[in-house]
Symmetry: D2
Subunit: 343 residues, 4 copies
């Protein structure tokens, strides 16, 4: 079976795994205050050019978003996000479970615009409404699209105008920053946001998200929130080891480049074969319209997500490439798509 299900189907990239093996019997203090973690933090701060940032390594994406938002906001403050936002739909109400409303703005392609921010602010007049205080965006978005630098700058301006924090969910940040349509650096991201995350789980490590906080007002006592929400890993050095491996030689971006290359071959191949895409992704999520007959046959040879019918005659299929996707698998998938389309 081919496997285009997601970008977290395998374990860790070889270099990351080797780093874990190599350090396995070292003795370190617990809870992420060990030397390796400190090294990883230093590497990361250097790479984003923010020597004063606070960096915390957390375990899962939902956990990271939850802890950050719950830590940053007062009880009556709310987050503006799109209705595709991971926090809006795919985290089982984790943000609301900490007491905060998400103001969900309708978006076709998962991108948040400044018009949406304006509209959300306008509507929330007084103390009978929640107080909008944060903008949440994902880059890459949940539909595979990305923000350009000017888009991010505009959002930053809107946030400054209204006194909002800007938080960027970077679960697939590496993919965004290494794709062909991108014009931003990770330093730009660090400069334009108040806090952002650097996703590891979907980019070649066993697990791990780095939470980077650049706004001084948001930093204090974060470790209390991390512990309280169950995210302080006893063997915290596991996160340090993995992020050190990602950032000591820019492996973080190399991995994503491969992922994107595989996605580009796949996307172009799919379009060449005459299939339609649901969105026009820049990164590694290819939402494709598959005739039911093709889906019936393909699903016997390949794993991929196809939860929702697109219409009566078609399925919406999601193909995802990853750091572990071999080129031959992409080509074989295209071959199958060609074969099944012809019949």
């Amino acid at each position: 079976m081919l496997y285009f299900m997601n970008d977290y189907s395998e374990g860790a990239h070889e270099k990351v795994l080797n780093a874990l093996i190599k350090t396995n019997m070292e003795q370190h203090v617990g809870y992420g205050v060990d030397d390796i973690t400190n090294e990883a933090i230093a590497l990361l701060k250097k790479r984003i050019n923010k020597p004063d940032a606070d960096v915390h390594f957390l375990i899962t994406g939902t956990q990271t978003n939850t802890i950050a938002i719950a830590h940053f906001l007062r009880p009556y403050e709310a987050v503006i996000a799109t209705d595709h936002g991971h926090i809006s739909v795919h985290e089982t109400g984790a943000i609301e479970a900490t007491g905060h409303k998400i103001i969900e703005m309708e978006s076709k392609d998962g991108v948040l615009t400044t018009e949406m921010i304006d509209a959300a602010i306008l509507k929330h007049a007084d103390e009978h409404w929640v107080l909008p205080k944060m903008v949440y965006i994902s880059n890459a978005t949940e539909t595979g699209t990305i923000y350009t630098k000017s888009m991010l700058e505009d959002i930053r301006k809107a946030c400054d105008k209204y006194g909002l924090y800007l938080y960027l969910d970077g679960a697939r940040l590496a993919n965004a920053l290494t794709c062909a349509d991108n014009d931003m650096t990770i330093e730009d991201v660090a400069s334009l946001t108040d806090a952002f995350t650097i996703g590891g789980t979907k980019n070649g490590i066993l697990f791990g998200e780095a939470l980077v906080i650049t706004n001084n007002r948001l930093k204090e006592h974060m470790r209390f929130s991390i512990k309280q929400r169950g995210a302080l890993l006893a063997k915290g050095r596991l996160l340090g080891v993995q992020f050190r491996a990602l950032f000591e030689e820019d492996l973080y971006f190399e991995i994503a480049k491969h992922t994107n290359e595989m996605a580009t071959i796949l996307k172009n191949g799919i379009l060449d074969l005459g299939y339609e895409l649901v969105t026009n992704p820049s990164t590694n999520l290819i939402f494709t319209i598959l005739p039911n007959g093709v889906h019936d046959r393909l699903s016997k040879h390949c794993y991929y997500e196809a939860e929702h019918p697109y219409d009566e005659n078609n399925m919406e299929a999601r193909f995802v490439t990853s750091w572990a996707t071999p080129k031959e698998d992409v080509l074989e998938l295209l071959r199958l798509l060609k074969e099944f389309k012809a019949n």
Copy 2:
């Protein structure tokens, strides 16, 4: 100045006030387990024809919604409501503050349809999403419209199909059930919902909402939730006295009839004068499009809400009648609307 600001601008209806005065020096046990409260509960249960219902008297509407919903739901369960729902927009995120997401469905006139319920259910596939478990509707709605009996029956069926509780916010229930377009009784409401509220604050008493629970699964330990959320009034008999006054001679519905009559005169008068309405209300909230020139002059003679511009040339004004609105005030308002329109 005329006063069409809202239906809670004055204190209490004369009969309610007199009941408070008369019982003032009586000595009663605290926290709502006194004899008067018990009498009021008995009257109310008889009136709704639900001898086995649990009835609790609470203080404010937001408090009542919050306590009920937080008591009924498990942490990962969510409420389906319209984007006009009082809990969606006008309670400062009170529901989310207890940990529950509101799934907001777009609605033009504040009415929730079974199609919206279907759509919400379809979307929430698995444990990565919140679990829809309750439908919240308001009758009358926040725009002054109402549910007919068949509409409520359909929603009940949809709830049964999907295993959802049906909760009806009756902050203005009296208005809904006494208006010309209504075909339901309060017994119908009690039979078709799992829990509902009978609003007092907007219908002639100082403060108070009755929470009625007919579904046995939702009843247990409610007084713990009431106390925990700060809603157990020490002098609980104040609520008993007021609701006894409302229900010992059907004053509850008489009051609303007057309110609706005043609203009907006003609405018809406004339409006769050639003004347009934003919605077509059945009850006492008349959202009217006022040319800016009219608004400028009228607002010097009358209090009413006019927060949002309707467009460049018009304001959206909300006129509300109440138990305390004299007919002459309605006529005077119409006279002013006529005069200012002519110029």
Copy 3:
């Protein structure tokens, strides 16, 4: 039957009731931004000599404590209180329900000492513990004892030393400040705390607690929290009317003086009769050890709390005087206590 059950058995003091009657048909804007409420706030700020304080009128004591504490603290911050504290035991976990731990320190008489604060701080070493950030005390305490000015000054110093907010629950503040053992003024209380409450419910009004915030850091956006927690009364002027009545001629303190006088007569009489007290109260809560035989007979003539056996042969009875307690009732109670003791 005599009635020494509590200090909230009747409605409102005559002057308060008359104020409500007099203003009943006035039209005011809702939610506590009306002129009467503003007058009441001005009177109160003048009386406590804190022109810059923020004052909010809330409805119940549990509600007030919950809203204040949830508004003041960050998610990982905790409150230090005695194990008698109203928030510790008698609010159904309301504070924990907002996410905050109460660090309960054992206290014989309900009074918190600086040694307890020291001990609590010492124990909470790092981010594996909650962060103590507030001290909660009640004056009068839940056992009827009070704080002297030097005790409060010492607690203030301890709070300053450790960076803690000092919050004083004044549900029975009037009783504390008018009793024979008191040496503080309400201005002292306002100067030595960061926030405190002025209880009305137990001192002659229908309902109402004033929350006074003097620390600027704690003020912002409080109305959002009040609304979110369901405490923004539509007819907010009801609170304004009552507090204006309490503070326009110092009725607040006059009422409490009477309560305390009745308590003093009762306490001295009880001691003269040879009964023992459980604590040595300064105010209106008289915890008395009643032989079972006396309790059996007395409870047929008088209502009072007697929930817990003191030992095999005795009950712990709580007699409470109030603004509405006539002297003849106190004397009659003493007569019965004498009569039943003799037999």
Copy 4:
């Protein structure tokens, strides 16, 4: 440097690490519904002899306790625990952060007795108090002591009497069940509790706690809670791989036996040298009273926790053995303790 700091200083036991390496490039579905996880669950259910139990693999101990307790309880329900309980003191108020009060009962050695349960129940009279609904115990306890079978049976009876759930935190369950003083099996634990955890992090794996639920009433929709609290690991198979390794050949108990053997040698050696212990542990936490002079010298050769002074002249030191502790390190530590004591 010697290392007796804790039992999570190294990575994973060789067999566990090898299992991770071997499965690294396998492709599996995410979020813990993969085949390996299912195998691990089957092995575990067989080992505890509970074919109908629900088993979930979670990441950290605080996370597991939080999710379980928040899932099991209604908002007003509380947990009874000792004042040494991990949830009481060492989880930054995580339980309170989900809204639930912990009723902390004073305990000398971390063991909860039925008398404490009786006392807690007696005190919580009505809806003004939280409702006790769960008993939380740890085995081994936080001081290294354990429960015998008859102690656990008595607690079970008390729980049945009062309608309480019994939850056992097994962060160090392996140590408890393999120590010399133990007379219980893991089947006993599964039969006598409603839910319990099987700790992996402190017993040789990288991370992971198994939550076992045997009470049917507590099972429903647990995966929603797990996802909502950020604990659903994308590469969930990592937990499956590790727990499969622990339970396919009883490695889980072999590891703990070694840990306990090392602890026994250390404990006996310490006592032989004439040092005093703070408690009398059965497992691998040896709280020892070290004269300040000894501590000053020893801490240059060995890592161990010594946060609190025992008295003016002594430190309280905690020595912890683990699966990775070589016997020679224990002997060297004893040699140093002997040498420094002599001088």
